[in-house]
Structure formats: structure tokens, C-alpha cells
């Protein structure tokens, strides 16, 4: 069940260059699953801004966002205790049916595509599923959550500036470690590269959104089977249906 709720900011801290972790809390009735997102109303902006759920615990939802424009800039200035009007939980989560039969699982995240994978990693851990994680950052200054992932998974890191982990792209690492199935979220170029490797998996996609809950057809994309709305039938898509 989707709902519109007013939650409060618990904390809003800088994690890395231009990257923030915001925790919001309140009465959370409908429990989110990994891969779902929330849509936040920011004062003085007409459209809401969508962000993946990075973590969820009792009464608190966490998101990690990067300042890319005026909306996220304004979000970064918000102080604890401020109320936020939020639509949640939106979209579908990662499909974890039969996940134990998928063979060796790998989570591949790039930049601010990493947040939903943290929620997923925690869930897989709870389900006692083995997995490895590959994270990609542009620079050391923009890296975040490395320790958090190290605590719960076997982790590989790549960065373009080479100052954290291996110098290069996540796909360089992917070529070296065997895997059967992947879950991925990140910049389009990275998703395309992961998809191209040809293994089976699930991808979290992005599109500009008018509503976030299926009403406007703003976020449609063509899949191998039919037209789907990223916000309603996605944002998680199977590798077999994604056409790049």
C-alpha cells in the first residue's frame, strides 16, 4: 500500500563530497522492501524528488543523495526535526524469489546507485544468502559506505582516480570474479556495461518522474515485452527485459 505521510528529519549529515545521508522518521505503516523508493516534496519546487530507500529500521527510513541541482541542494540544507511530506513505498523491490537457487550472487553499485544495494545486502544477509559486493566511485572524496558494506559483506572497490580500491571501473573487477547472478544500480553507462557482460540479473533504472506512482506516464520505457513505467512496473527490471 502506497501512502502519503509527513515524517520528520532525524539527521542529515554529509558523508562525502556533495553526498548526504538523511534519516527520516515517523509512523511507518507500510514496510518497504529493498529496491523501492520514496518521493519527497521539497518546498518551492513543483515536482517531488525520488530517492531510493537505503535502509529501514523500525520507524526510520534512510536515503543517501548527491547534490546535483537545486532540489537536492535545498534538501542538503534541511535541519533535524523539519517535517517532510513523503510518498512511499513506491515501485517494486528486487525480486528475491528463488534467490537461493541463483548461484553466486553479486551486487554492483556505482555512485548514488549504491544506496538501494545496502538495503538489499542487509536483506540477503538476513536470508542467509552468500553474496559479494562491487562498488564503484569516481573519486576517493566521493566514496561512502565502504565500512558499512565491509561489515556485512565481502567487498571489492574500484575508483576512477585510483585513490580507493582498485583504479578503474567496476566492470574491470567483475571480469575477474566469477558470478552467476547480479543486482545492480548506478549510472547508465555502468548499467549498460554490466548488462553487456551477459549474465542474468536485475537492474534498477531511473527516469524523470512526474508523479512516482503510475499516474502520468512520464517515466515510460520500452522493454523487450512491453512498455513499462519505471515508477510502477519498475524501477527494478530483469536483465532479459532491458533493452539498451
Amino acid at each position: 500500500m502506497k501512502s502519503q505521510v509527513v515524517l520528520k528529519i532525524k539527521s542529515n549529515i554529509k558523508l562525502a563530497k556533495n553526498i548526504f545521508l538523511m534519516k527520516i522518521f515517523g509512523y511507518i505503516e507500510n514496510l518497504p522492501v529493498p529496491g523501492q523508493f520514496i518521493n519527497i516534496k521539497i518546498e518551492n519546487f513543483f515536482l517531488r524528488r525520488p530517492f531510493s530507500i537505503c535502509n529501514f529500521k523500525e520507524d526510520t527510513i534512510s536515503i543517501i543523495y548527491k547534490i546535483v541541482g537545486k532540489g537536492t541542494k535545498s534538501l542538503s540544507k534541511m535541519k533535524p526535526n523539519k517535517s517532510l511530506n513523503v510518498l512511499y513505498p513506491l515501485g517494486n523491490g528486487f525480486d528475491l524469489n528463488d534467490v537461493e537457487k541463483r548461484g553466486k550472487i553479486i551486487l554492483v553499485g556505482g555512485g548514488v546507485g549504491i544506496p538501494p544495494l545496502y538495503f538489499l545486502a542487509k536483506e540477503l544477509k538476513k536470508l542467509k544468502i552468500n553474496f559479494e559486493v562491487v562498488l564503484g566511485f569516481t573519486t576517493y572524496e566521493e566514496s561512502f559506505f565502504v565500512k558499512e558494506f565491509l561489515d556485512i559483506s565481502k567487498l571489492h572497490v574500484a575508483s576512477i582516480d585510483g585513490k580507493i580500491g582498485k583504479k578503474g571501473l567496476v566492470t574491470d573487477i567483475l571480469k575477474e570474479i566469477s558470478h552467476d547472478y547480479y543486482f545492480t544500480c548506478g549510472p547508465l553507462a555502468m548499467l549498460k556495461a554490466v548488462h553487456k557482460i551477459g549474465k542474468e540479473g536485475q537492474l534498477s533504472l531511473e527516469e524523470r518522474m512526474g508523479c512516482g506512482f503510475g499516474a502520468c506516464m512520464g517515466c515510460s520505457l520500452r522493454t523487450s515485452t512491453k512498455v513499462k513505467r519505471v515508477c510502477a512496473e519498475g524501477p527494478i527490471f530483469k536483465s532479459s527485459e532491458v533493452v539498451f
Binding site: F46, L47, R208, A215, M217, S220
Partner: protein, 304 residues
């Protein structure tokens, strides 16, 4: 009878609150948020003869006090709509709906419109002759009074239900198009669709929406459309549905004073999915405060 009810052509509405075409999906996207049966009625996404993907993305842009869209009439096509969607709507909505018809030629409009004749849940039709997000040559057809007159005549011949014509505000002859539609047998006018607009990202100079030109809607257009409703009311006798920038009960009352019998809420549904519910519960308090006995009494009152 409640003091919110209005008679819109053949439809007696519990209240004048109707979600606008393209901003309410096929209704069920809102059922998690509230019981949509409190609505006066609802207009569904425009339907064409064949399925359409619409335009390339990005087809949405943020603006000050509004938004741009260039969806380009994405819809499953009339056959799939009748087969799959009508059943689903029937399950969640117990009132009559308004079906929106779009097309690219007179024949196509007539073909689609006729298909709704025997669909029980459809109370009336809204003929969308104003989608700004189609090719220029296709769009031009609909700014001519002569073409609209002919289109309405043909629709009148085959369609048993009342039909409204949804006008484009992007032509200079809005009033004469409204009159032509009325003369040819349209049962009402919806005023209006979105305004041509554009957004450019100052950071890189790129036009944001893929089609470049797109339809502008939201609070910013309200005064423009109130003016149109006011003038159309002076020139036609058929009822008017107002659509443009409505976000609260005061806006509804303003449109009705200008001449609207019912009002459509568009973009606001996208950012506040419970806006229609909020307006419906606020209206009784507002009309009491403004000493209005019954909402229908104020239709066009600003003219007298």
C-alpha cells in the same frame, strides 16, 4: 441533495471535482490513497485507435509553479482499453466516468468515440482536440473552426452519449472554435488543455524535454484559463468544464464564478495524490464561509 451537486449535461455529479485526463492514470493508481468514489467523476487518459508509446523521454520537466509534459498520448489503444482496463475500473469505481478520445484524423476520432456507445460505465466523452504533444502538421487540423465543426458533426451522428470538446488555449480563435463545436452538436466545452512552453537547463543550454516544445500546466496557468472560461461562458450556452492550475477549493469556486459547471484537477494530483479528496472535504466549509447556499448557484455569477 447536497449543496455541492451540479448537473453536468446528462450527469448529475455529487460534486464538481473531476480529475483531468492524463493526470489520474486509469483511476486505480489512486485507490491506495483514498476511496475515489467520492469524486464527481473522472476523466481517463486519452485513448487513440492504436496503442501509442508516446514521445521519447525525458518527457517531464520541472518549472516554477508548474510543469511541462510531452507524454504524447501514451495509451494502450481502444481495443486493449476496452478489454483490460474497463473491467479493472468497474471494480473500483461505481460512478460514471468520462472517456477521453484523441486521434490524428476525423475518421480516427469517430472510430474511437463510437466504441464507447455501449460501455456502461462511460457517462460521456471528452474529445481531446488539443494535445500539444503531437506533430505540428497533425496539430494544425484542430485550430480551424471549419474542421472542428465537421468533426463534431460526424461524432454527433454516431455517438449516443453527450460529448465535450476539450479546447487548446494555443490558438487565437479559442472562442470561435468553442462556438463551432456548440453549433455542430457538442454538449459542452472543456477549457482548456496545456499551454505551449519550453524549459532550457541553464547549466548546459540543453532543452530539457525531448520534444523541445511541451505542454505547460499547474498553478501558473490558472489566471490564463480563468480568463478563457469567462469569455467562453459569454459566447456559448452549453456547460463548461474548467481545467487549468486548480489546486484548492478556492480555485474551484473561482472557476465556477467564471462560468464552469464542473472543474478538473490535473497536475496537482501528481504531486499531491489526495488533493481531490482534500478539496471535496473543504468545499462545504468554504461555501458556508462565503455564504454560498449551493455551489450550483454561483456558476457564471461573476458575469451578472
Amino acid at each position: 441533495m447536497s449543496n455541492l451537486n451540479v448537473q453536468l449535461s446528462s450527469m448529475m455529479l455529487d460534486n464538481p471535482i473531476i480529475p483531468a485526463s492524463g493526470t489520474f492514470g486509469f483511476g486505480y493508481e489512486f485507490k491506495d490513497f483514498y476511496d475515489i468514489n467520492i469524486l464527481g467523476s473522472m476523466v481517463l487518459k486519452s485513448i487513440t485507435k492504436s496503442a501509442r508509446f508516446g514521445n521519447d523521454t525525458p518527457r517531464i520537466a520541472e518549472c516554477k509553479s508548474g510543469m511541462l509534459n510531452a507524454i504524447g498520448l501514451q495509451n494502450p489503444g481502444i481495443e486493449a482499453f476496452l478489454e483490460d482496463e474497463v473491467l479493472k475500473i468497474n471494480k473500483i469505481f461505481k460512478k460514471k466516468i468520462i472517456a477521453s478520445v484523441a486521434g490524428f484524423s476525423e475518421e480516427e476520432y469517430v472510430y474511437v468515440a463510437k466504441k464507447f456507445n455501449d460501455i456502461e460505465i462511460v457517462g460521456m466523452l471528452e474529445i481531446n482536440i488539443s494535445c500539444p504533444n503531437i506533430k505540428k502538421e497533425e496539430g494544425k487540423f484542430f485550430s480551424s473552426e471549419k474542421n472542428i465543426y465537421s468533426l463534431c458533426r460526424e461524432i454527433r451522428k454516431v455517438v449516443k452519449k453527450p460529448f465535450f470538446i476539450k479546447l487548446s488555449p494555443n490558438t487565437e480563435n479559442v472562442i470561435s472554435v468553442a462556438k463551432a463545436a456548440e453549433d455542430a452538436g457538442a454538449n459542452g466545452i472543456t477549457a482548456c488543455n496545456t499551454y505551449f512552453g519550453m524549459a532550457i537547463d541553464p547549466r548546459n543550454g540543453k532543452v530539457v524535454v525531448s520534444t523541445k516544445k511541451a505542454g505547460f500546466s499547474g498553478p501558473a496557468i490558472k489566471p490564463l484559463t480563468v480568463r478563457l472560461v469567462y469569455e467562453i461562458f459569454e459566447n456559448v450556452k452549453v456547460p463548461i468544464m474548467g481545467s487549468g492550475g486548480i489546486s484548492n477549493s478556492d480555485d474551484v469556486i473561482e472557476f465556477m464564478y467564471a462560468g464552469a459547471t464542473a472543474t478538473q484537477i490535473g497536475s496537482q494530483n501528481l504531486i499531491n495524490p489526495t488533493v481531490c479528496k482534500e478539496i471535496i472535504s473543504d468545499l462545504p466549509k468554504k461555501i458556508k464561509k462565503y455564504n454560498i447556499k449551493s455551489l450550483k448557484d454561483i456558476i457564471g455569477k461573476s458575469h451578472y
